[in-house]
């Protein structure tokens, strides 16, 4: 206990005997201390309330009227005095007066401090927060890059009560918000978010809608989790083909490869039929023919690994090969491992070789 707290103990104790200060004024003096810019002053005032509680000061309940108690808590939160807040919410005398509206406002002020957020979310009154409040707080935490606070908010009853439709709407909104470019930091948020009951209940059609959005916004941090929700296993191969077709039509970049890796993990990817694979291979070849050499071309190589790829005709392999032969060794190599390559006419092979030489490629057909 620091020295200034001594004064507060004296102040609050003296009240019982001297009654020199009205309870109202004592409350506003505490408010003054809580409003000070210096965190140690606010913390000292909070400790003095704790000390006075421990000493069973008779005047305390009169000083800490519900409105005064709420004002003290909100002021400490607004001035970002985390130590004072944590000290005060631990006191039953103050905790009993805390209502959901004050708690919501306090949380809003303290999202930057995940430790305080966690403590506030564990208070009994946190169970009274509405789903609307929980949604707004989650959005605010995300916008402030307060991902660990967001994780704490996911433990709220109200957040856990969000329906899968509300989760979908929120996800659509969150994806459009700016986020930390470091995926490791957003990961803690998404991990907690996708453990919410509402997220686990997302339908396969919602997963497809969200995947499209994640793809267009290049949010591989979201697609990674989306592809792991239970309904992702029920996404049809036709939907996977359509998402991939859309994806291949967009320009190549690093995020794209990460996104594709997630989609190719979906069970329906392995169920793609021959016609779909043929179309996608061509789209992938078009896509990678403009990509950087550094791209790992995972989209095209995973397509070549599919069982349905073995059934492709030589024409279906020749078209994509012509697109990539002078651009990408990895793509060429993957396509050349398909059985249909052996049926290519010598004329076609000669043309491909020419193109390969023109592109100064080491690998040949």
């Amino acid at each position: 206990v620091n020295s200034s707290a001594c004064v507060w103990i004296v102040l609050l104790h003296d009240l019982q005997d001297l009654n020199a200060l009205s309870a109202e004024t004592a409350g506003t003096v505490l408010q003054l201390a809580m409003n000070c810019s210096k965190p140690s002053t606010a913390a000292a005032a909070a400790y003095s309330i704790a000390d006075a509680t421990a000493a069973a000061a008779r005047s305390l309940p009169a000083i800490l009227q519900p409105a005064v108690a709420r004002r003290l808590l909100l002021t400490a939160a607004t001035r970002q005095h985390t130590e004072a807040v944590q000290q005060m919410v631990a006191l039953p005398l103050l905790q009993q007066h805390l209502d959901a509206a004050t708690l919501e406002e306090m949380l809003r002020q303290l999202l930057w401090d995940h430790h305080s957020t966690k403590i506030l979310c564990q208070l009994p009154v946190a169970a009274e927060l509405s789903t609307d409040s929980a949604t707004e707080l989650l959005l605010a935490a995300y916008q402030e890059y307060a991902y660990k606070a967001g994780r704490a908010l996911c433990k709220l009853d109200a957040t856990r009560q969000l329906s899968s439709e509300q989760i979908e709407d929120l996800l659509q909104l969150l994806m459009t918000q700016p986020a930390d470019s470091d995926g490791c930091r957003t990961w803690v948020f998404w991990q907690a978010f996708f453990r919410l009951p509402g997220a686990k209940q997302l339908s396969s059609s919602a997963v497809v809608r969200l995947l499209r959005k994640a793809m267009s916004l290049r949010r591989s941090d979201v697609s990674e989790h989306l592809c792991k929700v239970p309904a992702a296993a029920e996404v049809s191969s036709a939907d996977v083909a359509s998402v991939l077709r859309e994806a291949f039509a967009t320009p190549a970049d690093d995020e794209f490869d990460l996104f594709l890796k997630d989609v190719t993990q979906l069970p329906a990817f392995n169920q793609l039929i021959r016609a779909e694979v043929a179309q996608l291979l061509y789209a992938a070849a078009q896509h990678y023919s403009t990509a950087h050499e550094t791209s790992d071309n995972a989209g095209l190589t995973s397509l070549c690994d599919l069982a349905a790829a073995e059934e492709l005709s030589s024409e279906q392999v020749l078209l994509p090969l012509q697109l990539v032969v002078h651009r990408s060794d990895k793509c060429t190599e993957a396509l050349c491992q398909l059985p249909a390559v052996e049926q290519l006419s010598s004329e076609a092979v000669a043309k491909l070789l020419q193109a390969s030489i023109a592109g100064n490629r080491k690998r040949s057909v």
Partner: protein, 198 residues
């Protein structure tokens, strides 16, 4: 002797606007002086910072600026407070402090309004607060508690400024110590008996 060229060109511009009443042969200071009185929008045009500069030129111009500002003292203060609040820039806080100090010195009747307005301004620094306390601003215990209740950030600076300038007020010593965040003062205060206002 002009504070800066920009101010001179702005003033010249206004003088040209006001040429009907201004003879070109007049000395520059006199032209400005007449323009100040005859052109009501001049304050808005050259701004508070410009007026502050003008008032430092010489005694006569300083009086002119005071006259003009005291025509609508609270109106000018409110607009400068709005600028300070919206921009949160140090120079605008300084402009507010300059104007408020001028009003406190030259128009004592405005003191209550000036004090009320400044008390609601968040995060005033100690330098500005001391400047105003030196100009006559006083904060009572009741005003202090009301401002703290409204959660005005950094309101304790006024108590600190009053303490630095050794101003006697009705604020209890222990509250002064709380506001100054001075742990040593708090220790010594805790050993003496406090008398509280009822």
């Amino acid at each position: 002797m002009w504070p800066d060229e920009a101010l001179q060109s702005r003033s010249n511009c206004l003088i040209r606007v006001d040429s009907q009443v201004t003879s070109l042969s007049m000395p520059a200071e006199e032209q400005i002086s007449r323009a100040l009185h005859s052109c009501p929008t001049l304050c808005t045009h050259i701004g508070l910072k410009g007026l502050a500069c003008l008032s430092t030129c010489n005694k006569a111009l300083s009086n002119d600026v005071t006259d003009v500002l005291c025509g609508d003292p609270i109106g000018h203060l409110d607009s400068s407070l709005e600028t300070a609040r919206s921009t949160e820039q140090q120079q605008h806080y300084q402009a507010v402090a300059w104007l408020a100090a001028l009003l406190l010195r030259t128009a004592p009747a405005t003191a209550a309004d000036v004090t009320e307005r400044l008390l609601s301004l968040p995060d005033v620094d100690l330098e500005c607060a001391a400047q105003l306390v030196a100009a006559g601003m006083r904060i009572t215990f009741a005003q202090l508690l009301a401002a703290a209740d409204s959660m005005v950030a950094g309101v304790e600076v006024w108590v600190h400024a009053q303490q630095v300038l050794a101003i006697n007020t009705d604020i209890p010593t222990v509250v002064v110590a709380i506001c100054c965040g001075d742990d040593h003062a708090l220790v010594s205060n805790s050993q003496t008996s406090e008398t509280w206002p009822t």
